[in-house]
Amino acid sequence: MPSPPVRARPTSPHLDIYRWQIGNSLSILHRLTGIALAAGLLALCYWLVSLAGGEDSYAVAAKRFASPIGLAFLIGWTFAFLYHLLNGVRHLFWDAGYGFERTQRHASGWFVVLGSIVLTLCFWALIRHSAS
């Protein structure tokens, strides 16, 4: 009897079978911002090491962070952090058993998106204000 052809077994997660909507988009964004923040932790440690290294190494690090690419990363990490924070609290409410209704899920989702954008702008406005 011929053996059945070997087929690659499906592996999870099946990212391409979902219709894009706010629920799964925000879930994926939570994971993406988490990965970005892991890189941010690396940058934070680099900044602290440069500070402990003395004035010269701190100046080098500060110059890197103040460059256009460095600033883009810092603003991106600010948004990633605030989004991850707000959406994380949203997840904690779900874990506690609240906010599962469709309207609640959508409202809290949009609140998280708008809130993290607004807070990112506020944070950098304050930074610019104190820098000038």
Partner: protein, 126 residues
């Protein structure tokens, strides 16, 4: 009638050999990070500037050094738990998965260790 052994039933673990510890640790560290990260961001905002002397004076204080070290430890733990799941989810070859998880774990210890050491240097040599 269950075919599970009494020990298996008491331990309450399935074929994954792992219960809810990972999930729970992720939540507990998340809750701890809310005040720690907000303290860090607000402290940065409260500083008059981010010049070397200003930042060094602030982080040389025992209270800020202590909180900063705690922040790094919990942040590393939380981040490690999260990125571990990402690798477990997306790296499907057995050898690659073990290698990636090992590299990840070593990297976190190295980077976080350097960060905490830097904070300790700042506090002990103001």
């Amino acid at each position: 009638m269950s075919l599970r052994t009494p020990l298996g039933r008491v331990l309450g673990m399935g074929s994954a050999k792992d219960g809810t510890e990972h999930w729970w640790a992720q939540r507990v560290s998340a809750v701890a990070l809310i005040p720690l990260t907000l303290w860090f961001l607000f402290s940065l905002l409260m500083l008059p500037d981010l010049a070397y002397g200003t930042v060094k004076t602030w982080l040389s204080l025992p209270a800020s050094g202590f909180l900063c070290a705690l922040l790094l430890i919990v942040l590393t733990y939380h981040s490690y738990l999260g990125t571990t799941v990402v690798i477990e989810d997306y790296v499907h070859t057995a050898g690659m998965k073990v290698l990636a998880l090992l590299v990840l774990r070593f990297s976190y210890v190295l980077v976080c260790g350097a960060g905490i050491f830097a904070v300790l240097l700042l506090v002990t040599r103001p």
